[in-house]
């Protein structure tokens, strides 16, 4: 029978004060999107879906073959969802998808630009210095976002 005491590296240890202090300085969000779901939305609702979800710059960043385009769009949806997890809006806070932009810099690295409601939520929560990572493989796209809290 498996005995956790035989594997000391797996034993739960109390969280140290130092670890708690570090965790309190960051907020982390991630999200996973099934790429065919995005393809279905584009096929069903076309421009209306794209216009409600993505800025002109985001759409320009996602140009390419159909397969590459849907993967890039899905990664941005995952990125926006991950940012929403950081912002933690209340059920009564309107947060349009367009208020969160996932853009590429001149080197191709993704970064986040917040507008309107998203920007106000971030300010209220004391969030700053975001880092985002996007990935996709086969049918799934993934995003992870981290931000500092406070000064």
């Amino acid at each position: 029978m498996f005995n956790v005491n035989s594997f000391p590296e797996f034993r739960l240890r109390p969280v140290s004060r130092k670890s708690r202090a570090i965790a309190a300085r960051f907020r982390l969000g991630n999200d996973l999107v099934w790429i065919p779901e995005i393809q279905r939305s584009v096929t069903t609702f076309g421009e209306r879906y794209l216009r409600r979800m993505f800025s002109q710059q985001e759409l320009a960043d996602c140009r390419g073959s159909d397969a590459s385009r849907y993967a890039s769009l899905a990664a941005r949806v995952a990125g926006k969802e991950a940012v929403m997890k950081l912002l933690r809006p209340s059920r009564d806070t309107a947060l349009p998808w367009l208020s969160i932009e996932i853009l590429r810099d001149q080197h191709g690295s993704p970064h986040i630009r917040l507008h309107g409601a998203a920007s106000r939520l971030a300010t209220r929560a004391g969030l700053h210095d975001y880092a985002i990572s996007l990935s996709h493989d086969q049918e799934y796209a993934l995003a992870t976002v981290i931000a500092n809290i406070g000064s």
Binding site: E37, S41, T44, R52, M53, V77, E81, R91, A94
Partner: protein, 79 residues
Amino acid sequence: MSKEKIRQILKEQGKFSSNVDSLADDADLYEAGMTSHASVNVMLALEDAFDLEFPDRMLKRSVFESINAINAAIEELTA
């Protein structure tokens, strides 16, 4: 009539794991499995079905959290 139409759209777009017909009008749709992204598809399908457009101020969880809440939003937009 509106609530039947809403229920039909939820069946088609909501990505629920449970049977939509078994959900009460005030049941929490997010707790029943609707994702944020699925709520976008629901919103666009509602716009088509009821010939309206949800403004930015309504793009919040409370507007799409139940059949009653969606119905109230549609009544407000079509008043």
